[in-house]
Amino acid sequence: MATAVDFVERINQIEGVSGCVLVKDDGTLLGNTLGDTEDYSGLLQVTSGLSADIMNNVGFSYCRYICFNRDNMQNFYVFPIANYLLGIVQQTDCSVARMLDKVYHLVSRVSTGGAGSHS
């Protein structure tokens, strides 16, 4: 659990991240720097399920992330990470590509087991 908290802290420190939430795929909250986590937990679970259905239907191999683009530019991202789901709120004025690169880099390390030894 300490690793999960560390992971959330590290994600939260990335430039362009306004806040984040990490849950297990059953909705159990593991870490949070956002309010209204219960709503986001539900959104994360449904989003992950539907994106996986689309992936299987079309024949894609892997979902990197899902983005809910908003008028206020505080876009919400969902990263499926094995049995976990990471939700991120983007800051309005940031380099989105750079932020996503850094998040994805960290997510990849967790996915491959690298983060456990680094956190």
Partner: protein, 216 residues
């Protein structure tokens, strides 16, 4: 309806696009044949659900994008229950696609999608009063409805006015009075006409009216 999504397909990196409605299913698609219509329909329905869920959390939701290893799926709601989605290479130009979605959305709101499905045929038009709520129906649409009601008179005779008003009232309760829903109204009228020959005759009569309306 197909011509506007064809404009999306010319954007570098866009593989194809589709419009899907929650009740009517796939309304238009221009994907390569490898993408089967049934699968696209399932994708569309999943995207509609995803959009609905997103809307519950974010009032100002604009687009969805699902980033897979091989492709990116981008979706935009055109109206409640209808969305357009595109499948793109990961290297696609997102700004250009977003701008094209904006243009397409505007066209959709103006009702410029129905023209490709309506056959052409010149015919006379008669006018009669259409008693619909002015607050609900724009002036230009009221003019069209008057002409459609007159055309129905040529097919159904004296009962046409009563039938048209009844159908119109029902149509207004089912959704906004927008030209994009005109085919639903016509379908409802057809159900009242019943006889296939008369249905075809009515279609012939109103086709030039619809075309004229669309041309503005």
């Amino acid at each position: 309806m197909i011509h506007l999504i064809d404009e999306l397909k010319v954007i570098p990196g866009v593989i194809g696009a589709s419009i899907v409605n929650s009740k009517e299913g796939l309304k238009a698609a221009n994907f390569p044949s490898i993408f089967k219509a049934e699968r696209l329909q399932v994708v569309g329905k999943h995207l509609l659900k995803l959009y609905s869920v997103g809307r519950l959390n974010f009032d100002d939701l604009t687009d969805l994008s699902l980033n897979y290893d091989e492709s990116v799926v981008v979706a935009r709601e055109l109206e409640k229950g209808t969305l357009v989605f595109a499948i793109c290479d990961p290297s696609f130009n997102q700004n250009l696609l977003t701008m094209s979605f904006n243009l397409l959305h505007e066209e959709y709101k103006l009702g410029n999608f129905a023209d490709s499905t309506i056959p052409t045929s010149p015919n006379d038009v008669s006018s009669a009063a259409v008693e619909v709520g002015e607050a609900k129906v724009s002036a230009s649409l009221q003019g069209l409805f008057m002409e459609m009601k007159g055309a129905l008179g040529k097919v159904l005779g004296p009962m046409a006015g009563f039938v048209f008003d009844e159908v119109m009232d029902e149509w207004l309760t089912l959704g906004p009075s927008e030209f994009s829903r005109i085919e639903t109204l016509i379908e409802q009228i057809n159900q009242e006409i019943l006889e296939p020959e008369k249905v075809a005759n009515y279609r012939q009569l109103i086709t030039p009216l619809l075309e004229t309306f669309q041309k503005g």
